[in-house]
Amino acid sequence: MKVYADNAATTKLSEKALAAMMPYLTETFGNASSLYDIGQQAHHGVQFARQTVAEVIGADTNEVYFTSGGSEADNWAIKGVAEVMAKKGKKHLITSAFEHHAVLHTMQKLEKDGFEVTYLPVYENGIVKVEDVKNAIREDTALVTIMYANNEIGTIQPIAEIGKVCHEKGVIFHTDAVQAVGHLPINVKEQNIDMLSMSGHKFHGPKGIGALYMRKGIRIPNLIEGGAQEAGKRAGTEAVYAMVGMATALKDANDNLESNMKKMSALRDRLIDGLLKIDSSRLNGDRNCRLPGNVNISFEGVEGESLLLYLDLQGVSASSGSACTSGSLDPSHVLLAIGLPHEVAHGSLRLSLCEANTEEEIDYIIECVPPIIERLRSMSPLWERIQKERGNA
């Protein structure tokens, strides 16, 4: 059996999205800036895409700017606000310790440029405290950026409350919602969000396309000069097929949001319950306040890359937060941020589901994992040591 359970990494392009994209890759190839018919048809595609994305997140059409993806949207929003606010003497930024690297590395770059960054703790449950945000805001705070839902452990942050605190203090609030858009109900106005990043391929749209929502009135420097596209802020001939594909996938996800959430949560809970039966395992991140498709479990005495490659040999695609999978010295910064010791973080397994997964697939994963854990533990000097310490050997 083949089971794709890495939907937080990327998703399969939906058939509806592909069908909507095809005309723009074939006969409707015109440049959306051209005045003749085939150009105007392309222009309509762009309009449809922008309007659809705006509607789904509760924004106005002219508040949505297309980008190449989530990382670009994050970079643009954060660096843009930082640059503008620095001129007003505001050089303090607030974020959390477990953001995606598109945010964290941008913060590190800004620190080198003379900004001061506060990294809020996320505690054992993987959730930022609104009170912490409130206390961290200063006179010179330029921006607060907190992710909507974490990409590794799936925990959902109190976005509306954080936004409220920011607005009370007159600080711009950005959220990296790459994992949340298309999977959770979002309304930027009701949730006090000033800026929001999203990525098309996380909800069955194509890769290479994303968007930044920016509330009317916020002005940041243009990202790319050279044309009138994206209100002159990000020049370059539009990839109409990608915009239309993303919008179509997002509309579909939004139309089925409730039933998808219900189905995925049930699969997720079945998978969590099944895997937690394994000795010395733990669920990472809050059990209830998490994305409908996210499962992240650590197995003591086991290294994550080996685990995921043995799973791959059985047809299951998953991911891990071990150092060996990150190609660096340390295991996932997310798992360290929720207080896991290095050796427990190395043994983590992330399974991220989508609405196309089935109960049979979940049961297959639950069947595959225990023998692999047993095999890895039987050859693990670390497990031997853990057993000795517990007096089991």
Binding site: E303, S306, L309, S322, M379, P381, L382
Partner: protein, 144 residues
């Protein structure tokens, strides 16, 4: 990052997994914090490594290098096992991704540690230069 077929073969079905209860030498290197520990057991008869087993906690390349390295020293004189380099293990595996080279260093060090233990236990004189203090595991990561 991609593993060679050889690496995947040795990872999927590693050779010489296990322990030797009455081993003549045991060596353990690496640490849990870094995510890999290798433990090697050798049985020595008349200066020849007659049996070798390993237990490894680590990634696919750690398991594959343990498997290959133990294959390479089995049946060989102890003096020859000491000459096994991580480079030779990597070559035998048709290469490792750059970030995984430290795993092969670990295999070389594990064998040396097992031999040193055998020498120490049996009061065999040896050139201390051969067993200089382990170069820091962290450095291998950075080198890789």
């Amino acid at each position: 990052m991609e593993y060679s077929e050889k690496v995947m073969e040795h990872f999927a079905r590693p050779h010489n997994v296990g322990k030797i209860e009455d081993a003549d030498g045991v060596g353990e290197v690496g640490n849990a914090k870094c995510g890999d520990i290798m433990k090697m057991y050798i049985k020595v008869d008349d200066g020849i490594i007659t049996d070798v087993k390993f237990n490894t906690y680590g990634c696919a390349s750690a398991i594959a290098t343990s498997s290959m390295a133990t294959d390479m020293i089995k049946g060989k004189p102890v003096s020859e096992a000491l000459k096994l380099t991580n480079k030779a293990v990597v070559e035998a595996l048709d290469g490792l991704p750059a970030v995984k080279i430290h795993c092969s260093v670990l295999a070389e060090e594990a064998i040396k540690a097992a031999v040193k233990d055998y020498y120490d236990k049996n009061g065999i004189e040896y050139d201390k230069e051969l067993f200089k203090e382990d170069s820091c595991h962290y450095e291998h990561h950075h080198d890789a």
